[in-house]
Symmetry: C2
Subunit: 222 residues, 2 copies
């Protein structure tokens, strides 16, 4: 495991229904901290559609993605437009609906989704430079959306959800089932993915077990 | 360490400047999950004063404490008014300014603070029944506010911040300095406290080390 490495984390808000999944984000930060990484956090400056997390209903209000991400980042978050894919030693992208609503529109459009342009640029440049990427929960679908037209064909997991697997196949990705405590490693492209809360009934400890493996693989490559 | 125990967690929003500290909350949930606890989350239904977490400035807007806490709780949070202090085997209270703004008004009034009535009832009934309580960051000040008039005199830590220590002394609590990775145990009253992000420059791994000790002590008593 390497230390003295700088890892970029892309956040998409704060709250699993309209932003970054909070548990996954913090568990990524914990595993990165335990591995001795220096973390820099980034988020788009776009607006998200606020969901009431008690009722699950849309409120009709907007929130700024970066300003909400700053709740997870304790203020230390910069715009994705300000960073290059090659500025860090690796990237980690937590899940939550934010990854599928604010970093791309996969939640609404499935296999017809298009990505946020800055996040797409970061991921494409990182892949081209063989900079490692870890992604969990629904964030692997974002990687599939970004790579669908120009490749490479990534091997990844979102757990075992059949509808999502179908969409990933349509996007050209190779899906491999995995339990919540495990990861799928695409060594050719230095991409490692973990299902996390794609298993909605998983315990926090189970989600952390998978995320810890994901981060350890990212750090081993970085 | 006991398992098959139900632990109540009191949240005060989602975001360290106007609610529950997100890292501390998730790290408490992780340590509880790793210890085999069943967790039930609670929050007041009052309103909080929203702070922009990127700029640190008040926005002039309000948010509902419970609805924001639901972002951390993935929807599974109930009103503090619906639970008794003796309904669970132990209580855990993460920090963040929410503990000092939304569970009491310590952030504004210091030693003259008064607590939220339901949180006060829960804590007083738990202490009277020798139900263990773990609290971190600024949340120990909430315990001091609640016990100032009717006791007991608690031994606790908020790290080593001099101004906060003075206020705790005025509230009648006994403060013991502790580093971020450690806890202070009041075995007589089954109260364990950890400094967490009272050390603002602490790493996530250091904060987890202290919170893990806090949760393990809570579970050993529960």
């Amino acid at each position: 495991m390497s230390d003295n490495k700088t890892i970029g984390v892309i956040l998409s808000g704060a709250g699993y229904l309209d932003g970054a999944e909070i548990h996954e984000s913090v568990l990524c930060l914990l595993a990165l901290s335990q591995a001795g990484a220096t973390v820099k956090m980034y988020a788009p400056t776009s607006e998200l559609d606020e969901i009431d997390h008690k009722t699950g209903a849309p409120t009709g209000q907007k929130r700024n993605v970066l300003v909400e991400a700053a709740r997870i980042a304790r203020g230390q978050v910069e715009p994705t437009e300000s960073v290059k894919g090659t500025d860090v030693d690796a990237w980690v992208i937590p899940g939550g609906f934010g990854a599928a609503k604010n970093l791309c529109d996969f939640a609404e459009k499935g296999a017809q989704a298009t990505p946020d342009k800055d996040v797409s640029r970061i991921v494409r440049d990182a892949l081209a430079a063989h900079i490692p990427i870890g992604a969990c929960c629904i964030a692997p679908a974002l990687l599939a959306v970004i790579t669908k037209s120009s490749g490479p064909r990534l091997k990844l997991t979102i757990g075992n959800d059949e509808d999502t697997k179908k969409a990933l196949a349509q996007l050209g990705a190779e899906h491999v089932d995995a339990p919540v405590t495990d990861v799928v490693v695409d060594a050719d492209h230095k991409v490692v993915t973990a299902p996390a809360y794609m298993y909605g009934g998983a315990s926090v400890a189970e989600v952390f077990a998978g995320i810890e493996k994901m981060v350890q693989q990212v750090m081993a490559w970085a």
